[in-house]
């Protein structure tokens, strides 16, 4: 099924591309004349590094809340831990698109931060086995879906039937210390991995990133834009919406939603991710209300248009359309796909339109090539 969709997308993209060419106005400025280092500096100093700083702080608060709960597994501490979990998970949505440089080097070959922190659906049997083993190598690829936020989601909301039973899991019985220990291990690992990435940005990679301001496949801007669109296409559009809606499988998959066990968090996570990608597009600073050079200003500098309209305006307007579709959904996407999947599919369609605008029109305007391929999946 996956191949059909990719094929359809390709056909559509090609049609759009050919159509776009004929409608383009006179050739504007050369993409290479733009001051790319200004974009890179804004991204690094006002978006990426502050977002990681915020995330690391929130992840450390989560680690600390897990320690508090372990010391005293009672209702108040569980509530505080759940709140810290929500805060950190939302905060993660603002760094998840930055899979460049250190975030790609946190683990074994081919494993990046996002895969360790947010692979879902989680493997609950593996999680329970890990709890009992109390000594597991979380670097292994086979452990990706037994750690990170999805595993904490299960341990904090899904490991037993009610809040009282969940509390009992951590406070009564022979396994309670093991459950408390695994909670702490997972929380500490999130904070540790994120801290490593931030540290690498702050001790050298920031300069490497901003200095690499040329054009070409290995230039920072080309790599970052590719990573950004890949994230938007695969993790936001497909992962958060399309896969649960059954776009790729043919039937809805309610167990594949983000934050399955929390029960009312998946919409908020998706909206946070959408805001993060839109803010990145517009160069909006993570802290405060400022903004700087961005894909938006770059496209405007090039006077990029599609059917006479400014491409940057079209993309922002499409982000808004997607947002209003997402806002119309239930808080729990599992309920949404089970009760009224058409709305979920509508949201997918609105997200998909920006894949075309960005992956085809924007990349063409910026003279950037797509550097990723779709895996076969078998």
């Amino acid at each position: 099924m996956k191949r059909y969709s990719i094929l359809t997308l390709l056909i559509f993209s090609t049609a759009v591309l050919m159509h776009g060419c004929t409608d383009d106005g006179p050739l504007g400025p050369d993409p290479d004349d733009f001051d790319r280092s200004a974009i890179l500096t804004n991204w690094a100093d006002n978006l990426i590094v502050p977002a990681y700083q915020n995330f690391v702080a929130d992840a450390e608060a989560l680690e600390s809340a897990a320690a508090d709960f372990s010391a005293n597994p009672a209702a108040d501490e569980l509530l505080a831990l759940r709140n810290a979990f929500e805060t950190a998970y939302l905060s993660f949505q603002k760094v998840s698109m930055y899979e460049i440089g250190p975030a790609m080097q946190v683990g074994a070959q081919g494993i990046n931060l996002r895969n360790y922190l947010n692979s879902y659906p989680s493997d609950t049997a593996q999680i329970v086995e890990n709890v009992s083993l109390n000594d597991i190598n979380l670097d292994l690829p086979s452990q990706l879906d037994a750690q990170g936020f999805p595993a904490l989601d299960y341990l904090l909301y899904g490991a037993a039937g009610s809040e009282a039973e969940i509390l009992a899991l951590y406070s009564e019985g022979a396994d309670a210390p093991l459950y408390r220990s695994y909670l702490q291990t997972l929380s500490a690992r999130i904070a540790g991995l994120a801290g490593n990435v931030l540290n690498a940005w702050e001790t050298g990679y920031r300069d490497e990133f901003t200095d690499n301001s040329g054009n070409g496949a290995n230039a920072s801007i080309d790599m970052m834009v590719n990573d950004y669109i890949f994230y938007y296409e695969k993790w936001l559009r497909a992962g958060k919406v399309g896969i649960p809606a059954g776009v790729f499988s043919g039937t809805p998959l309610p167990t594949h939603v983000e934050a399955l066990y929390h029960g009312s968090f998946s919409r908020q996570l998706a909206l946070e991710a959408l805001s993060a990608v839109q803010d990145f597009f517009n160069g909006n600073h993570v802290n405060g209300t400022g903004s700087g050079e961005s894909l938006n200003s770059y496209l405007d500098y090039l006077d990029s248009r599609r059917d006479g309209s400014q491409l940057s305006v079209l993309i922002n307007s499409q982000f808004e359309s997607a947002r209003s579709e997402l806002e119309s959904l239930q808080q729990n996407f599992a309920d949404q796909v089970e009760n009224d999947n058409i709305r979920m599919l509508n949201a997918y369609d609105e997200l998909q339109k920006n894949v075309v605008f960005m992956k085809v029109d924007m990349l063409q305007a910026l003279n950037i090539s797509v550097d990723y391929v779709d895996a076969d999946g078998d």
């Binding site: 081919g110 690829p141 496949a217 290995n218």
Partner: protein, 389 residues
């Protein structure tokens, strides 16, 4: 009856349905059984907790180690079969009836891959793979299990069976005049002399057995294109993949129609029409293998040349490529008795693939991948760009 097709009316049905006196004359249950056996073998190769070397080898042989009866399959119907995968690996009349040594070597190679999965990969289930070290490696969020050279044995077995079992039996055995016309087959077919206890002639049955290696696992065996690509992990699946590449759209219908028309030609006694259809099938089925070999080589190359290449994804592609390249020796150039590449040419491709350094796929360069794609695509009627999808 005569061989001149212009004078013979061929009654070609809409779907693959043929009857005599109200009974179906189509039968290929043995092919369906072997596809299902192969499915169970390849899925059990990934059962780290349940599988043993002896169980996997029993699935391959449908015999125990001393040649006695074995019941390795979870499907009892397969256990009651007297057939096995192994007996039909590298076993076609045209290629292997007088080439026992190569046949034995190929059959044993499958056993060495199956054994390697248990002896090399299973013990390293919880080890990170690295150059020279078997273990697990991430492919996105999937986990792949590779040997010390970066190869997945389960992929090698799956994709190599496409050539050594399905393609070899189809192109070089059942569609061959040496099989279709063996003994008194033509005379019997002309005179409707039926196989004892059945409603079909021997020739009809042989042709159906070829069809069965492509569509034997389809839920609708008479009209299999409706769910093309979902019936099995072998030819049906990859015909589906190739069909879904715009450059090759229509190939599935072409193959299906050739099977149907050839079968109808047998009923009509139009043997030249039959043989023309066999050549179409030979060319197209061979192309599927060539296209997929190049597709996976090129896919791996694209990832390898990207930033921070995902080695798990590369190794997965190349393990599939390995099997499709292995399968090339069972293809057939239409109008000839030769494969597109001989066994020794195939071996040299595989040696090159693993030969850029001491650690096999870990050392492979994009230049070697390009050269392999060039050499493999050369004799076929498709370009690397078309195959790359």
């Amino acid at each position: 009856m005569n061989d001149n097709n212009t004078e013979v009316a061929i009654d070609e049905p809409e779907v693959y349905e043929f009857t005599r006196n109200g009974s179906s004359t189509v039968s290929f249950s043995g092919q369906t059984a072997r596809i299902l056996m192969a499915e169970e073998l390849i899925s059990t190769m990934m059962d780290f907790d349940g599988a043993t070397e002896s169980l996997l080898l029993q699935m391959y042989r449908n015999r125990d180690a001393s040649g006695g009866n074995a019941d390795p399959f979870s499907n009892p119907e397969l256990n009651s079969e007297t057939k096995s995968i192994k007996e039909k690996v590298a076993a076609s009349e045209d290629y292997f009836s007088s080439n026992a040594s190569e046949s034995v070597q190929i059959r044993n190679e499958f056993e060495s891959w199956i054994s390697g999965q248990v002896s090399e990969v299973f013990p390293n289930e919880n080890t990170l793979a690295s150059p020279g070290q078997a273990g697990q490696i991430a492919d996105g969020t999937s986990v792949r299990y590779v040997n010390a050279q970066g190869l997945e044995y389960n992929q090698m077995v799956t994709k190599s069976l496409i050539g050594a079992l399905m393609t070899d039996q189809m192109l070089n055995n059942y569609l061959s005049s040496s099989v279709l016309d063996a003994g008194t087959n033509r005379e019997d077919n002309d005179n409707e002399v039926l196989v004892d206890g059945t409603s079909y002639t021997t020739m009809e049955h042989k042709w159906d057995e070829a069809y069965g290696y492509l569509f034997g696992a389809a839920s609708n065996q008479a009209d299999p294109l409706t769910e093309l690509g979902s019936a099995d992990s072998f030819l049906d699946k990859y015909l589906g993949r190739v069909e879904n590449d715009d450059d090759f759209a229509g190939i599935a219908e072409e193959i299906f129609n050739a099977f149907k028309r050839g079968r109808a030609a047998i009923v009509a006694g139009a043997y030249d029409v039959r043989d023309e259809q066999a050549e179409i099938i030979r060319q197209r089925i061979s192309e599927i293998i060539g296209i997929r070999a190049v597709f996976y080589l090129e896919s791996a190359k694209t990832i390898l040349e990207g930033n921070s290449p995902d080695y798990g994804a590369i190794f997965h592609d190349l393990s599939e490529a390995y099997g499709f390249i292995y399968s090339l020796q069972f293809t057939r150039v239409p109008g000839s008795d030769e494969p597109y590449f001989t066994g020794s040419e195939v071996q040299s491709f595989l040696d090159r693939m693993l030969g850029d350094g001491p650690n096999g796929l870990w050392d492979l360069t994009p230049e070697t991948l390009d050269a392999l794609s060039d050499d493999i695509a050369a004799p076929f009627n498709f370009s690397i760009e078309e195959a790359a999808g």
